[in-house]
């Protein structure tokens, strides 16, 4: 606020009366009223929207580098808590977990291939 603000006079918000004679004159969107008023918020408040880039930028946040507390131990799904995320592409700790999983899938994949040959 600047100190030299001038006194303003008040006046009524301009309104316009629109007469509807036919349902076809009603707008398609709930967010508009006849004549075209736009509301900047949705009825329940403003929706929290994040675009793709913003979400991806948050991926490396320090807060996202540690697993959630109370993450259940599910073999083949949750990683061992000691694995640091920076390791995950380059390095091994992950492999021990992957091994479990891939022997499992290999086995099934084998079965699947055989199944197809039978047909």
């Amino acid at each position: 606020m600047s100190a030299d603000c001038q006194k303003t006079t008040s006046r009524a918000i301009p309104t316009r009366r629109v007469t509807i004679n036919d349902a076809a004159h009603m707008p398609h969107d709930y967010s508009t009223t006849p004549g075209g008023t736009l509301f900047s918020t949705t009825p329940g408040g403003t929706r929290i929207i994040y675009d793709r880039k913003f979400l991806l930028d948050c991926r490396s946040s320090p807060v996202a580098r540690t697993p959630p507390r109370c993450l259940p131990d599910i073999p083949g799904v949750t990683r061992p808590p000691s694995v640091h995320i920076n390791n995950d592409k380059a390095h091994p700790p992950e492999q021990s977990l992957n091994n479990n999983c891939s022997t499992h899938t290999d086995k099934i994949a084998g079965e699947d291939a055989q199944f197809e040959m039978d047909i």
Binding site: S31, T42, R47, I48, I49, Y50, D51, R52, F54, L55, L56, D57, C58, R59, S61, P62, V63, A64, R65, T66, P67, P68, C70, L71, P72, I74, G76, V77, T78, R79, V83, I85, L97, N98, C101, S102, H104, T105, I108, A109, D112
Partner: protein, 218 residues
Amino acid sequence: MATSEPREAEAEAETETEEGTTEPTLPAVASSEQYIKHPLQNRWALWYFKNDKSKSWTENLRLIAKFDTVEDFWALYNHIQQPSKLGFGCDYCLFKDGIKPMWEDDRNKLGGRWLMTLSKQQRHNDLDRYWMETLLCLIGESFDEASEDVCGAVVNVRPKGDKIAIWTGNCQNRDAIMTIGQQYKERLSVPVKALIGYQSHDDTSSKSGSTTKNMYTV
């Protein structure tokens, strides 16, 4: 989760970062900004399903974790296997808190799903990428008003080809469903010619043959 107190401040910080580029380019000094969590519109629950035939369907369904901030989502995502590493017969399901990942839930039973059917080759090329995009669409509320209709998403890892679907709450809400389908297809960069279909859960559960009819396609 200890995320509720600083919400007001977070919401303000978030609008700044979305437009400007100040925050992401900050030097790696441990500023308190880095520890801010960004609230999501919804709280979400991630479920894991493992097909163990000795157990019932519901016994095989297990809640992994719930989250309601962007950072808590990544903390979870960064510490679980990608879908392509799951065993056959396994699923991940991400649903809004309070909606069970099953047709029978009150908020699903009148609904249906946009279904992406992947070829076997796509497991290596597309599956993990598609699933991550799907998750980002959901938690970021990418479908504007139609996001209200979204119940969740499911990835099925199957020998014959994997599937990813976005579930919505009412198969009669044509406008919302079409908005979701069109924007989803665009986000995944699916070729325009490749059609994806929307099927009601009712049709899926009562189908007689191997295919379910599409109520809508994009």
